[in-house]
Subunit: 195 residues, 2 copies
């Protein structure tokens, strides 16, 4: 970096990106427990104060690292077949949300949020609500296209679709696999598909 002609502001942005990438590298290597401010500082070759200047806590750093790793590849496709698009998206995102780097960071933040209501609110607002909302957008488009019954509020259905898969991932030893996704979509389509 030293030989790049960066303005102080651009250099700051580059350093932020670098610190988030170091955090994600650590997530993949040592998991959530090892992702301390100390470990990130050591790996990045900076002092802890450099990290605390940008993030007030480990949670704040990990939330931003999660945002960086969370790509638009997690958005729904729209082929005009709502069941197929939901299926494809659930099966594509399940491993992305489970495997490093997202998996350990996400699961660790969810664990910490159990004793920290403010973190739970932030986590929901920045990630889970985003997932629910993109699901709601996709099924609302299907409703407008006549695939799903009209005059039904689908907001809670989006929560059911997301919530069931998160429950399985976080609270059981079962996988979010094809059988689970198909069973969930069977119920969703039985409730809302136009016959």
């Amino acid at each position: 970096m030293a030989d790049q002609p960066a303005t102080p502001r651009r250099r700051g942005a580059a350093r932020t990106d670098e610190l988030l990438q170091v955090t994600l590298d650590l997530a993949a290597e040592v998991g959530y427990a090892g992702m301390t401010i100390e470990a990130v500082a050591r790996r990045a070759g900076v002092g802890k104060h450099t990290i605390y200047r940008r993030w007030s806590s480990r949670s704040a750093l990990l939330l931003d690292a999660l945002s960086r790793a969370w790509t638009t590849d997690l958005d729904y496709h729209d082929t005009g077949d709502v069941r197929a698009d939901l299926r494809e998206q659930f099966l594509r995102s399940a491993p992305a949300l489970t495997d490093p780097p997202i998996g350990p960071v996400y699961r660790g933040l969810i664990a910490e949020a159990q004793s920290d209501p403010a973190l739970r609110a932030t986590l929901h607002e920045r990630f889970l609500h985003t997932v629910e909302q993109s699901t709601l957008d996709r099924i609302t488009r299907a409703q407008r296209a006549g695939e799903l019954v009209p005059d039904v509020d689908l907001e809670f259905a989006a929560e059911v679709l997301c919530g069931t898969l998160y429950y399985r991932h976080l609270l059981s030893t079962r996988l979010v696999d094809e059988a689970a996704v198909d069973a969930l979509l069977d119920m969703f389509m039985a409730a809302y598909a136009v016959r």
Copy 2:
């Protein structure tokens, strides 16, 4: 206890009950973080080894404390109206699973289970699976009674019913309230009620 004519075996059982009750009292007073083996031993007036003789870890102690607090009041009623019985049970159990003593112990164990797959398996087997199974039993009886459509496997539906409410409780700041339970049951009945 010293003046009770207890056999050593009965005395041991009484002491186990007492230690679990002390654990639950602490849960109500100081929450999960304060429920250490040390704190339980201090409150009960015993050495730490007395606790470790019965439970190999804090998680093991807390799992048994949770079992003790979990009463059969959490079972479903069967009035012959499946929607009403599910609704009544969800609204009755939601505060029981949220408030002390169950609430902080359960939420804390769920948090620890995120970094401990063996604990996650035990927690699912002893508690979450039990909830799913009693839900499945109730809706299967409704299917046999002709309230729900025949020839549909309802096992995943039971997971959807439980999972959605756990998701809301654990991962959002929203409440498991009447509006949420009614929306969930609207979807369930739209999918499976005999029309």
